[in-house]
Amino acid sequence: MKTSARSSFTWRKVTENKLFFPLLALSLILLFDFIFIPGFFAIESRDGDLRGSLIDIFRNGSTVMLLAIGMTLVIATGGVDLSVGATMAIAASMAGILMNPSALKNEVFFVTDPNYTFQPLWVVIVLSLLVSIMCGLWNGVLVAYMRIQPMVATLILMIAGRGIAQLITNGLRVQITYRPYAFIGQGWIILPFSLYIVAVILLLTWIMTRKTSIGMFIESVGINFRSSYFSGIDEKKIKLLVYTFCGFCAGIAGLVASSNVKTSDANNIGLTTELDAILAVVIGGTSMAGGRFSLLASMIGALVMQAITQSMYAIGVPAFALQAIKAVVVILVILLYSEQVRGFVRRISSSKNEV
């Protein structure tokens, strides 16, 4: 008798863990892959680098993971950033033009030398990220100081951003051939290089939020900004910080994405990725109303999003139908989160234990 009570108690603890439902969603999708896609879990070593569908999920998911890191903090304050996709495009255009400025002279100059670049790599990266930080800062000022609703405020840059990206490259697509830059998104050091970027940013963000008081303040502002204000928390600065940081993350994601497709395509880089990032955070269990957040859970959420895409491609869903199928799967995943379904799962599990 006693043991059953104890086991139901621990089961409850497991289901209440923030990582439980994201992990459950991920394993359900992977289970689907295991059954229907032969060789999905096969990992081979090519010249010491690990390759396979599973690794691809991580590699292709790295942009959404990067976005989800910044997005988690923004959503935790009760806001949302719709402009991250456009910010990605701006950062990519900036990087492209710095490596191959021929577009400014209204001509497309195809560089064939993989070692040619107009500016050194560090300048390219620093300037691109600076521009994306400015984008985030802009959002932050609108939301925190102008008191515009986050969805409206970031919608402005979401729409204008792609135009700005076009302006930077004079309306042309810049081919990126510089090999060191291509390494950002395509390089491997046993694992894909972009994963190391994600790991570093994740670690830095974790330290920034959990080893300083910023994380607690973000949650506090998201839950009850009046109480937070009365307690002396500068809610505006916190919001400015998270939007700026979100822009920074989007900038890195833009570099990774453009390096992956070898072009600064202002129209397509990061298109609708902001929605993937938001969904990743939601799947990670952070409430859209703000409050408690978990970076790790958001990362799993991003992997869920990518795993869905990857699986759909693998079973042969055509690219044009992908979004529709994805929507269906996302609905199923989100259903896992509704209180009704959770309560149902708990009731079933506890009644089993009692029997």
């Binding site: 839950i223 009850n224 009046r226 002396g232």
Partner: protein, 507 residues
């Protein structure tokens, strides 16, 4: 009519557990038709939980509810309402951005040709307010533009307006009403009683219990202590049953106060000079001394909270200034105040005090951490140490420091907020209604605490709508009337003098 027919509502053997708390343990309650039953007990006694189970907000772990002769199990407040059980909760839960009329008639709007008939709706709501409560306000205005008291009245009107209500639950409806408004409510309650409605009335005001109720049910720590006829029990007996110990401590207060009065310093810590804000409070002078408790008394809407907001820097004054320790301050903001050593426990605990999803520990260290800034992070062991210290010191009842503060009872939440401010070690402590919605025992505890804090050398401002409490706790009393400081009394004053000052009549 047999005994069972008289009972409109019987709750039997109700039990309910929340994570870490046994909120109710085998509690029974019986309500007759046309009766006012008072439900009393300390914070965390389980009064609100019992009512939430009755109205379907929470589901009981055990027990049954018999309503109007048949067993029911309310699935939601809507379901309970459709059965004939209506509630007005302790915390107003209406929509401040909707109009008064919409709030009253939400879900019962009158229609004309398939559309809502707005004119008729506003009239209906106005008529209902007039008829039920005798108040006359513009029902087309958003609810949020009215005072908390009016909002409370609207909440009551909404509950009454649901026509089939056979049982009406009033959960602390009078906690934000002044004497006149409470009187109005009692009239309505008596009228409903004659019409055969059973009323469960939850309150912390012992005086009101004896004024209005027929019988009293006492809960303590989630258990039923007993049910008594109001005529057959005395105040002292009732309070003793509620808190399970006698109240000799109350008499101690006077002694403590006299004793602590000896420690008042002569030079002022904080000095408000002609401080005022248009449409908020007229310019006033106020000196706060170390070691002294200054009581702010006044009726609802007299400007007590507005005074506190100015002193704490939430509002920027448009006339006058504040001198703090001899320096004129420039930076009017909560953070600026905290850094100077001023603290404010706000009136509205839920909206401006607690951060409900954060843990007790996080709530306690919040202001202290805000004062330290982003990067001087208190490590977890330090945070636990601080939290445990205040949990012990203020006697906060919580399973652990990691409990989300929303799971605590109102009185304990209040103590958590007090702890938050004490952790910043303030020189000036402004307490706006620190005992609102708190039981008798905890009230005395907090009053004593305020005096002992003053004795340690803090300057305290004590704001309360209960005059008795202000008198008992304060060394000096400032009276506000209609957004203006009208009088200041030092030393011993009697209740009458102050009530005259409230009313503005010469005495």
């Amino acid at each position: 009519m047999s005994e069972s027919d008289q009972n409109i509502l019987v709750m039997e053997g109700i039990s309910k557990a929340f994570p870490g708390v046994q909120a109710l343990d085998n509690v029974s309650l019986m309500l007759k038709r046309g009766e006012i039953l008072c439900l009393v007990g300390e914070n965390g006694a389980g009064k609100s939980t019992l009512m939430k189970i009755l109205t379907g907000v929470d589901q009981p772990d055990a027990g049954k509810i018999i309503f109007n002769g048949s067993e029911i199990q309310a699935k939601s407040p809507q379901h309970a309402q459709s059965l004939g059980i209506s509630t007005v909760y302790q915390e107003i839960n209406l929509c401040p951005n909707l109009s008064v009329a919409e709030n009253i008639l939400l879900g019962h709007e009158p229609h004309k040709m398939g559309r809502i008939d707005w004119a008729k709706m506003n009239n209906m709501a106005g008529e209902a307010l007039q008829r039920l409560l005798g108040i006359d306000i513009d029902t087309a205005q958003p609810l949020g533009s009215y005072t908390v008291a009016i909002q409370q009245m609207v909440a009551i009107a909404r509950a009454l307006e649901i026509k089939s209500a056979k049982v009406l639950i009033l959960d602390e409806p009078t906690s934000s009403l002044d004497v006149h408004e409470a009187g109005q409510l009692f009239k309505v309650m008596k009228k409903l009683k004659q019409e055969g409605v059973g009323i469960v009335f939850i309150t912390h005001f012992i005086g009101q219990v004896f004024e209005i109720s027929d019988r009293i049910t006492v809960l303590r720590n989630g258990k039923l202590v007993g049910t008594y006829g109001t005529a057959s029990i005395t105040r002292v007996e009732l309070i003793a049953k509620m808190i399970g110990r006698n109240l000799a401590e109350f008499d101690e207060m006077t002694k403590i106060k006299l004793e602590s009065g000896k420690h008042i310093k002569s030079d002022s810590v904080l000095q408000a000079r002609e401080l005022g804000l248009t449409d908020s409070i007229r310019p006033f002078n106020l000196d706060l001394h170390a070691g002294e408790v200054v009581g702010l008394a006044g009726l609802l809407g007299s400007g007590r909270t507005e005074t506190a907001s100015l002193l704490f820097g939430i509002d920027k004054p448009d006339t006058g200034d504040i001198v703090f320790n001899g320096e004129v301050i420039q930076d009017y903001s909560p953070l600026g105040s905290i850094m100077r050593g001023v603290a404010l426990c706000p009136e509205d605990r839920k909206a401006a005090g607690i951060v409900d999803e954060l843990t007790v520990r996080e709530n306690i260290v919040l202001a202290m951490q805000a004062n330290k800034g982003w990067f001087k992070y208190l490590s977890l062991p330090e945070q636990y140490e601080i939290a445990e210290k205040y949990i012990k010191m203020l006697n906060i009842v919580t399973p652990s420091a990691d409990q989300p503060v929303k799971n605590l009872s109102g009185g304990n939440q209040q103590k958590v907020i007090l702890a938050r401010w004490l952790a910043t070690n303030p020189q000036v402590l402004i307490l706006d209604e620190p005992t609102r919605g708190i039981d008798v025992g905890a009230k005395a505890e907090i009053q004593k605490l305020v005096l002992s804090l003053a004795e340690e050398g803090k300057a305290c401002v004590f704001i309360s709508s209960e005059l008795e409490e202000v008198l008992r706790t304060s060394h000096r009393i400032v009276v506000l009337r209609e957004r203006e400081k009208v009088a200041e009394f030092a030393g011993e004053v009697d209740e009458k003098t102050i009530i005259h000052a409230f009313a503005g009549s010469e005495s």
